[in-house]
Symmetry: D2
Subunit: 342 residues, 4 copies
């Protein structure tokens, strides 16, 4: 059994990790930390876990995370880079669900996250945890940077096109819609029910933190400069991301076949039949990305629809998938939940 710890388990990513790990056949939960909630039983905060998780939140100082084989960081940005060096020194491997290790270009990183990066060598060493791209590197990684939720849906949607060089990489458009849980469990006015319900809006159109992450990684796929217009929107649902992607075709191909080939062996990417429209609930609560490819009117613009559950394939599920890969387990272990519909 893998000994697993979680740093910062009071947010949505944390409770989702707990849901998945508590059902994982090869995992023993050792500790979960929270500065603010130390001493509280996890199941008192999240009654959904009653009878399933008996841990209490532990003080980070006394949690002895160095007993673990792997530690997940489900913390705000900036925490993992502080604590990872000591864990690595103790032989613990790390999966960071925040953004500390997602970007190699630390100048860019510091611009978007408004922090000084304190572990540049680890940022360099860390492997970007998109298994569909980096599976082999993840196997041996000491530190895995779990991708952002938008970044996962957008990259999986664009990757086949960019790897094959069939579209103009300088004019990509990603129009993405996220459920509100993507904003986390912080008490803030814009994500109150009475603000976000029965309402729809774009945000961060001038610039969003996930953009450099996506551009840096897609650039590696295509080998050319990538420019993307990324417009995220808030949609009144709890879970789910729907990315609607637009790319200008520069070379003809059978795009449906391209996607089916590219993802044919991927357990967590499902290419739908031509003409399909995936809905977010078709992946609700499951580690899955479903993709459909359209070419409206036979024109020169390809439209790719890509859906995930932001908390699963966009966060906790992908993190567990990475853990499975890192420790040589069945990649699907603990990730066989069927989506909840309706």
């Amino acid at each position: 059994m893998l000994k697993v710890g979680i740093v910062g388990g009071t947010g949505y990513t944390g409770v989702e990790l707990l849901r998945l790990l508590a059902q994982h056949p090869e995992v023993e939960l050792i500790a979960i930390t929270s500065r603010g909630e130390a001493g509280t039983a996890v199941a008192d905060m999240f009654p959904s876990l009653r009878g399933r998780v008996s841990l209490k939140f532990a003080d980070p100082k006394t949690a002895q995370l160095d007993r673990c084989d792997v530690v997940f960081f489900a913390t705000p940005h900036g925490v993992a880079m502080e604590q990872t060096p000591a864990l690595l020194a103790a032989g613990v491997r790390v999966i960071d669900l925040a953004a500390d290790f997602r970007i190699k270009d630390l100048v860019e990183w510091e611009k978007w996250y408004r922090l000084e990066h304190t572990a540049p060598a680890l940022a360099e060493e860390a492997v970007y945890g998109l298994p569909e791209v980096n599976r082999d590197k993840i196997r041996t990684a000491r530190v895995v940077a779990n991708p952002g939720c938008f970044a996962t849906s957008v990259q999986l949607g664009f990757l086949p096109l960019l790897e094959s060089g069939l579209v103009d990489p300088a004019h990509l458009i990603a129009d993405a819609k996220s459920g509100v849980s993507g904003a986390g469990r912080k008490a803030e006015v814009p994500t109150l029910f009475s603000e976000a319900s029965d309402n729809f809006k774009a945000y961060a159109v001038p610039g969003h933190r996930h953009l450099p992450e996506m551009v840096e990684n897609l650039k590696q796929a295509t080998g050319q400069p990538v420019h993307m217009v990324f417009v995220p929107h808030l949609t009144p649902m709890v879970r789910g991301i729907h990315a609607t992607l637009y790319a200008r075709i520069t070379q003809e191909a059978d795009f449906q076949a391209l996607y089916e080939r590219r993802y044919g062996r991927e357990p967590f990417v499902d290419v739908l039949p031509a003409g399909s429209h995936p809905d977010t609930r078709s992946v609700r609560a499951a580690n899955m990305c479903r993709i459909a490819v359209h070419r409206p009117g036979g024109g020169d613009t390809l439209v790719v629809l890509s859906v995930i559950d932001n908390l699963v394939k966009g966060a906790a599920g992908q993190a567990v998938q990475n853990m499975n890969i890192m420790f040589g387990l069945d990649e699907c272990a603990g990730l066989s939940q069927i989506p909840v519909l309706p």
Copy 2:
């Protein structure tokens, strides 16, 4: 492996049965029938099941359900009573998720369901499938009448009080709130998104079909006449029932202890600590009933809060629980899903 069939799998109860049974370690899905959708792949109608259920909907006439060990009816009322005799004759056991066998008093039944009952002997024989009351009878039943969703939440909430004779059984009040999936997947105006969203209303206040079912079964628990005012409401969420129950205390007791004792060994009833307020999402997508007991102001009225997921403990999950009992499996087999929160 149990050979399992489903009659009528295109509604919400049907797709939920498929979600649970496809993950059940002891079940082999043999056939699922639908008159309207015969030939359609199940996963084409419900993409959440892609890669998990490879069956097509079969024509009821050619489905050979007599090969099954057990058949679930997820049909409108009136279908099971027609088809059950032949299945029983072929040695197949039946679990009806509709109302055909829920009430022994067929005069009452025919009044509420506006059908002539065609299998009165089976209505008499059938066991009411509330495991917390009838576990032993369910073991050997040929026909199990799976309780209604409201009926499950209300009965589990009132049972300890009535069995102990501590409240006035002639003046029970059940104020119940249901998510919209309780109304099924029929195309009807009142359950359109634009009608039911951002809206709240009571319905069927003059009388509701679940009332006689509840009264008949609660009467058996108390041995006295039971009278209940039952007011169902439609609340804008997909899944979940919240029953708020009121009873006049006639004899003092430690009510919290009473509930804890009554349900202490029940795997799917969770009595919360005193002072709790269960929310429906704490049981979302899981086979669980959570209950809290209050006595506001120390007065003579007890308030019991009881929540379930109407599609799981209120339908498909309880049906699987009954199947497990009928066939001597671990009662929890295939029912270990942790609730999805948020």
Copy 3:
């Protein structure tokens, strides 16, 4: 034109007052104050008011509210009792939408609001602003205590019964469901979209602040001791309260006729035909209470359904109605909005 000021306009009650007052034919908005937002244009915070409200939030100290004919307090509890004396001294009349003046029994008040009451004489003088009960006193009131939202829906539902002495006043049950805007625009975890959406729960079952307000005022209606069990619930919609009220009949009457007679001349209480089920959207964004009366199974328990928009008849609309009465205007002035459906 009436000169009107608002203290504390950044919450939902404040913006709703602005929506109503900006359309009111006899009102000139003079000032709106906010400590935190002084200098911000109201329409920058609430874009719905662009082009309709040109005021900026003013610092309370410099707002010169003493120029007003009437000032509305849309503040947290405790503010109005501090500022009202000076306004009265300047000849300004006051309508408090918070709870400072709602209860005469200040021992009770201090228990629930955990503040020392600093203006007991005004609490005594203030008129409880339920026009259907106190219209004449409101006309000449210097200080009007605008009722709470739950309190409005529950009292309007019970009043005809209690005034006529037809039910047992010692065993009233009010099962009330509120949209999330009732919790205000404070940033708090439980009212985040991802917590409150697709979810339903009761809260404050042991005791709620609106209970003493309701009991005190209903006692005046019946002249006997009143005891009520009040269970509020949070339902996933923005606006609306649905109160489901239960009372034990002690004397026979034509209850439908009773309600129609009692409210026949009330412009903002609508008694529906027998057998109706009002939905909250039928009053959305309008100053209206709709009521239906049921007697399920002809039993001894009466069920009254009462719906309002918590921000209108439950707050800002009723406040404007009170203003109209206080200043001799047409009681319906500025309150003719037709509910928004769907």
Copy 4:
């Protein structure tokens, strides 16, 4: 007072027309027809109208619509083209909220609407009722084709760019998100609450009826061929459209100033300050389009955000605006509702 009739008032467009017209100072509602509901009081179907609309639905055959000055068609496609000739002959002017007269190219029309057009001369004569483009023609029109909801939001967003020739008209992208009321009040499975809630999806990506309408009218604005990729999405809210528009810049300009100039005198188009993100609730229940213009990263792609309430500026409100223009009334008469927020 204008004498007004409505054909087909049982859908959402119909009840919204009633809400607006019942409050309109210059309108007398003469008749509203419905084949299925003849004899039913309008307020029995839509309780929001109790006390405000006393009409009953009339049989189309006996409704004497020829007594009206103007008749609105809130019907499925194909009805207006049948009935309009007789009304015109009787001197009645017509505003069609369906699509019968929106496209001049009837070959295209017949392809999308799968009907033979029976009034080609009227299709030719009809004026496309987008006041911001065709105000002068609308004044004297006998038949006004009220624009589609998507078409309104997309055209108002693109018009300034196309009229000025500053972007590539051959590569427009409109990524539009609609609330569910846009699908109407028909009982259909995909718009059930349990299907559309907590869910997000694109639809009709291969082609949508509003596309030719938009292209034909935008072509007139630019004088060049227009090609647009249009991807509509269903978002879980009742009202509102959010169009996110992408255009490749071909000529530099101060785009913010361009929009402010273009719409400076328009009463129902509001250009937000640079950097804004309009939300749909900022126009909820009001006849308003709010627009923001972005140029992310200073690149060559312009992003325009355009929001309307699909039932108001996208349907009934714009129809009333057209009526005001046709009859020389104040264009804003009856359209001064302030958006309902929250």
